[in-house]
Symmetry: C2
């Protein structure tokens, strides 16, 4: 089942994507809801970010072995193979929806895409086991953890490197039924495949992160957990580019890249 | 003017604290609002966290010279005098209100208070100068940046060290008129003064942080900027303690400390 948030005319609603149409819903997937009986052609509505994230958690840093090895080699960095499922943060100010523009900020030198699986929390979770953890996931969407690499090595907690406005494309919707272990993440830059990896090749999986975080922190509906990317994230993106990220079983998140005005 | 959020019976409202009473308001300080004409005795209502923070920014780390020097000496840390107003993050899951309990989590070894000034953003701010920045501040409140020190040196981005549930007391209200330069921050543990410093002795001030962040990131109403603490943060807090933080011109944030159940 695909949950989207969308705007039709001036009205914003949640909806369920079925074939080429969106069935409008009163309420949201995080609370009581029912279909209104209205539906819209999918290509006639504007898709919005699929949820508001009170807190935006990010696995890693790096949460895939080949990305870690590539980053250490390419940047001369010293990321270590993580021994525990420690989390970082991203900031929801940077969220943009499917088809919205990634804006390269003034002063940016090297901006990279990062195609990622994003788990969306559906229910309050505190002190859950890895075995219970997936019961608290509403579903999965796609994220692009856009990163300015020179700032990444200058900024504590990567605030500007990873959270400049528009740096967190997320969408197009939340798919509740995903076979993460057998999914593939495929990044296309201007239509050409630049990265392709098994989505489930994480160092720590979704259940391990949720369980680890929830030992200390109450996860709440809408919180997102960004699962990291694999491999290299080259070439750098620039104004005029278009980035598409497919995760099989979910869909495609597409975002054009433009210069700051 | 003191803006509070409060609950009276089952109703949650914003209000304005005037003397010993709270004048109830329809709306909020971040949007259209007007007094309803009702008021309540301040000691008859439950004060709530004064705002929801879409993103929680934290200055530093360390943003006061003597705290930096103490931390390097006490922990054998190697914090450097910051050259730029870089920001970190805290997470709103950890917010609790005035008089709510700080819960020492399981496994915690050394939990410290940190008495801080917190600036509350009132209007969208993007690319503002330091001279303009304070126009975007609604007012100031008090924060306790509770920190588990052994986790602080083990966790990337201090997720559990600083954001375990209940680790971010904030309140009691937002004061719109504060003379930050002449304010004092005073921390009392079980009634005894354990820390006392000039609030305005920051390395970087509120205007510098807001301007720096806003070059890349749109600050939005309700965002909070935690300004760091000065001096040592000893002794460690333990169940049965009570922490009071005064900032002159704002008020007192009080929180009992209890053990996890």
């Amino acid at each position: 089942m695909k949950w989207c948030r969308f705007q039709a005319g001036s009205k914003v609603s949640y909806g369920v994507v079925e074939g080429g149409r969106v069935a409008e819903v009163d309420g949201s997937p995080f609370e009581a809801h029912k279909k209104t009986g209205k539906s819209h052609a999918l290509d006639s509505v504007k898709l919005l970010i699929p949820c508001f994230s009170p807190t935006v958690y990010a696995g890693g840093a790096p949460n895939y072995v080949k990305h870690l090895e590539w980053a250490n080699s390419y940047f001369g960095a010293s990321f270590k193979h993580p021994k525990e499922a420690h989390t970082g943060y991203r900031a929801s100010n940077a969220f943009i929806a499917h088809n919205e523009n990634i804006v390269i900020p003034r002063g940016a030198k090297e901006v990279h895409y990062e195609g990622e699986l994003v788990a969306v929390i559906g229910k309050k979770a505190k002190r859950v086991t890895p075995e219970q953890a997936l019961d608290y996931v509403l579903g999965y969407t796609i994220g692009n953890d856009v990163s300015e690499r020179t700032w990444q090595f200058a900024d504590p907690t990567w605030w500007r490197a990873k959270n400049s406005d528009t740096f967190k494309p997320i969408g197009p919707w939340i798919e509740t039924d995903v076979d993460v272990d057998n999914a593939m993440t495929i990044v296309r830059l201007n239509g050409k495949v630049v990265s392709e990896f098994r989505t489930g090749d994480f160092i720590f999986g979704v259940a391990e992160y949720i369980s680890a975080i929830s030992q200390y922190i109450t996860l709440v509906p809408g919180d997102t957990l960004w699962m990291g990317t694999d491999l290299a994230t080259l070439p750098a993106i620039k104004p005029g580019d278009k980035v598409d990220i497919d995760i099989t079983g979910i869909g495609t998140l597409s975002n054009p890249v433009i210069a700051d005005k």
